[in-house]
Subunit: 230 residues, 2 copies
């Protein structure tokens, strides 16, 4: 393989490692699997990194610092706060659905960091970043619609992160797009209820409806309108 400065080799190995982790988990990310994915020789690994743990630690660092998957608050201001949040959540969900392996790798790395004593605090930093990103989105959404949050935004950011995490985890497990869409609608309702009603004329009383744009199958299966307190 062609010569290559160490720094670029490091970068490529980190990317390859992430790829392998997404596919086979952290335990499957052996030094040989990583260099194979990066199309390198085994010796190059220990020339670029001191050890496998060294690479893993740097990977977590990089991944946490470059995390950008967030609500994409739409530019157009059509609709009220609730609708804006819902579209932002749908945009996030589309990212997840487009690349499920990415989220799986993130969860995998989080758990690895959680059970590795030498990486104590990394998971905490990761969630701090999630919350910061969520907070920015919430502020933007409120500003865009002229609403004001009635709950401290950092607190709402934690709520939003919990919701997106929960939605993502459930979807990774069952792959049910429609259910995810319904939960997203619920999340948007719940968050919008924490702000002053937007000044638009719309009387915000959005009972959830079949969500146009969801896949056509799955339809009326477990959606019985009869619930009641058994």
């Amino acid at each position: 393989m062609a010569h290559m400065p160490v720094t670029e080799r490091r970068t490529r190995l980190l990317s390859a490692a992430f790829e392998v982790i997404a596919r086979s988990g952290v335990s499957g990310a052996t030094t040989r699997a990583i260099v194979d994915e990066a199309d390198m020789k085994l010796a190059s690994f220990h020339y670029a990194f001191e050890s496998r743990e060294d690479l893993l630690a740097q990977l977590v660092d990089v991944v946490v610092d470059t995390q950008e998957v967030v609500l994409g608050i739409p530019a157009d201001t059509a609709g009220g706060l609730r609708e804006l949040l819902e579209r932002g959540l749908l945009s996030y969900f589309d990212q997840v659905r487009a690349n499920p392996l990415h989220e799986r790798a993130m969860f995998e790395l989080t758990q690895y960091a959680l059970r590795t004593p030498s990486m104590a605090g990394v998971a905490e930093r990761q969630y701090g970043r999630y919350r910061a990103l969520a907070e920015a989105s919430l502020r933007e959404a409120a500003a865009r619609t002229g609403c004001a949050w009635q709950t401290p935004v950092p607190e709402l950011a934690a709520d939003l992160v919990a919701l997106t995490d929960g939605i993502t985890l459930a979807w990774l497990a069952d792959g049910d797009d429609e259910r995810a869409h319904r939960t997203i609608a619920f999340a948007a309702r719940a968050l919008a209820a924490e702000a002053t009603p937007d000044p638009s004329p719309r009387p915000h009383f959005p009972r959830n409806k079949p969500l146009p744009g969801a896949d056509s199958d799955v339809s009326a299966n477990e959606h019985a309108e009869t619930m009641e307190t058994s």
Copy 2:
């Protein structure tokens, strides 16, 4: 070690495996680590199970079927629906906090099932069970307070599962009890808003406040039991 029927040996090995997974992850649950935890000899492993994968598959099965960690809806009906839900969530959270390793092992097993082709559908079944348990709790809470859900309960169950998952994951990462309590309060508010207001005199308009008992009490019910898979 003393003689022992295969069935009991299997049970013990499953428990030991769960313990090891909680401590060291699935990848750390080697045959030797498991038999060591169970205080057995290595040969007993392959006498009780065909292979390591066999044990893991059976463990996931057992764990999914015996999952019982849910909202403990309190027996006393003091307070409205929102308060009842909040206390139920706090009860769940106490279980998690009393034994964080249990939840970590559950996430670990879910991810293992997710990336193991031969176990396709197990994660889906797991979340189906979560939803069923959540649905039962929601119905109970509504019945207890005389409220009626205005959204299909199976749908709300998915929302509740997403919330608890998100809360749990965030707490496992940062260990922030107070933040978890705030998110729980948010979750209770959000869910209660999906029901008809309870007939009690209280005009439910709970802007959140500094949470008077957030850090010290919560000790209504403390089961620091062993978790166990049996």
